[in-house]
């Protein structure tokens, strides 16, 4: 039994520095803020849609009718304010759960108008994890307060208590949980394919090609720009689409298996990025959080990258 416990501890409770969780908070939170600020007009416009399109999902499910667009706009701005505090790492003990909860509600409401976009699912789950753990013990205003004003009780009220100063398993398990959640989400997408009517024939590429064509046709008929100019690639070679079909199934279905070794997990990230790039080219469809790698920050020692960038920046300024 002891070896099982050791293996479980090794998998979940590897000590990592607080700065890793801090940088992941900045990356995921920063991305979410970009989505909210850039999309705020669209969010508000959708909240003004005709009530007969209202089909509540997620946390908005308990609503029987749409709320006033003005109230929604107020809640959206409250989320943006809390999100800013989340990214800056201010009073994370309270701001984290509040931001995560409000974000889930605001996006649930946004998706309650007949179409559920899956682009926000993974980032929301990541924010939920980050909001409920001491993710602001470094790279944050909280850390600055602890350094500069350790004696001020009022200021410390919203800061997670008893957080360790060095690398610790308390920062390790949330990072690992983010990796596991990411892998589960991908494997669900794979399971949806093989357990659906097309089954393992997804690997033959024909269904994949026709899915690409189906999406492209709708874009041709309904958007000003039409489909991606690369869509013909899907018809160029059945072998190419079969290879893409098999590879996507391997990347999705086997995602959790790659997590058992750190380097293997990083190889999986590279494969997943290639898959998203391929989707981007062929379907003109960008899952920004995934395609640009923000979703995979938890798989790497991002604090080391940040330090490297910082030292290069300082050197450049010094040179000037």
């Amino acid at each position: 039994m002891r070896w099982i416990r050791q293996a479980v501890d090794r998998f979940w409770c590897t000590p990592v520095p607080a700065a890793r969780l801090g940088w992941i908070r900045v990356i995921s939170g920063g991305f979410m803020m970009f989505v909210l600020l850039r999309g705020r007009r669209s969010f508000i416009r959708v909240a003004n849609s005709a009530p007969d399109h209202f089909r509540p999902v997620g946390l908005a499910s308990y609503l029987e009718a749409p709320i006033s667009p003005q109230v929604y706009e107020g809640l959206l701005w409250a989320t943006i304010v809390l999100g800013t505090a989340f990214v800056l790492g201010f009073w994370h003990r309270f701001v984290g759960p509040l931001f995560a909860g409000l974000l889930l509600w605001v996006i649930s409401y946004r998706l309650s108008w007949g179409m559920i976009y899956r682009v926000h699912h993974l980032v929301s789950l990541h924010i939920l994890i980050l909001g409920l753990v001491p993710a602001a013990s470094a790279v944050s205003i909280d850390a600055w307060i602890m350094r500069r004003h350790p004696g001020r009780r009022m200021l410390r009220l919203g800061i997670w208590p008893d957080t360790p100063s060095g690398p610790h398993w308390r920062f390790g398990w949330p990072v690992q949980l983010m990796c596991v959640v990411t892998a589960i989400v991908y494997s669900l997408a794979g399971l949806a394919k093989v357990m659906g009517p097309a089954g393992w024939a997804w690997g033959l590429g024909n269904n994949l090609r026709n899915n690409v064509a189906h999406d492209a046709l709708a874009k041709e008929l309904m958007t000003p720009g039409g489909a991606s100019e690369w869509v013909q690639l899907a018809f160029a070679s059945p072998e190419l689409m079969a290879a893409a079909g098999v590879l996507s199934l391997v990347i999705e279905l086997c995602a959790p298996l790659f997590l058992f070794h750190r380097r293997l997990a990083q190889v999986w990230v590279v494969l997943a990025l290639c898959m998203h790039f391929w989707i981007r080219v062929l379907m003109d469809l960008t899952f920004t959080y995934q395609t640009f790698g923000f979703a995979f920050a938890s798989f790497f020692a991002v604090e080391a990258w940040a330090m490297w960038v910082g030292s290069k920046g300082r050197a450049m300024v010094g040179m000037k």
């Binding site: 003004n48 929301s124 789950l125 669900l188 997408a189 064509a213 018809f235």
Partner: protein
């Protein structure tokens, strides 16, 4: 009640979140066995990957017809406030709900088309909502965009004031 020591408290917090969130995120897996149901957020079972697509593609779309019979593509912003996929879904649902709701959608497009003062939109005389079947290879490889079959669900005129004045005795 005696409170737990800090280490046990932290471990409990960790395990509750690890087990709870992992199970919650994996929970939509039962949909693959019990059968389809509406999707949700933030937990999804990715129903869009379940669909089987044939070589013949089907689509519901809106187009305009000019006085001389020319077809004009009507983009999704004419009938929906959200993004492209939302517009696509709302159009499909309107057609599915019956002729009355499809006609409402058609009139909504015609009304917005009427307000346009410049460009090709001023030439559109009739708005149509149609369902068409296309051959994927013919459409994308040979570049022939003619539908194999097309069924007009509803159509409605674009009533412009200037035109009404011209027609008045």
């Amino acid at each position: 009640m005696k409170s737990l020591p800090a280490r046990s408290r932290h471990r409990l917090h960790a395990w509750v979140m690890i087990v709870g969130l992992s199970l919650a995120v994996a929970s939509p897996v039962h949909r693959y066995i019990t059968g389809p149901a509406p999707d949700s957020y933030p937990l999804s079972w990715y129903p869009m990957f379940r669909s089987i697509r044939r070589d013949t593609l089907q689509a519901t779309y809106v187009y305009g017809v000019g006085e001389d019979g020319t077809r004009y593509k009507v983009e999704y912003r004419f009938w929906a406030r959200g993004g492209f996929n939302q517009a696509r879904s709302q159009l499909r649902q309107a057609v599915k709900a019956g002729k009355k709701s499809a006609m409402e959608k058609c009139e909504q497009v015609a009304k917005r088309m009427k307000r346009k003062r410049r460009g090709w939109r001023t030439k559109v005389q009739t708005v149509r909502i149609a369902k068409g079947r296309f051959d994927a290879e013919t459409y994308f490889v040979q570049g022939d965009h003619t539908p194999l079959t097309e069924r007009v669900i509803v159509e409605c005129p674009v009533l412009r004031k200037t035109r009404q004045k011209e027609e008045a005795p």
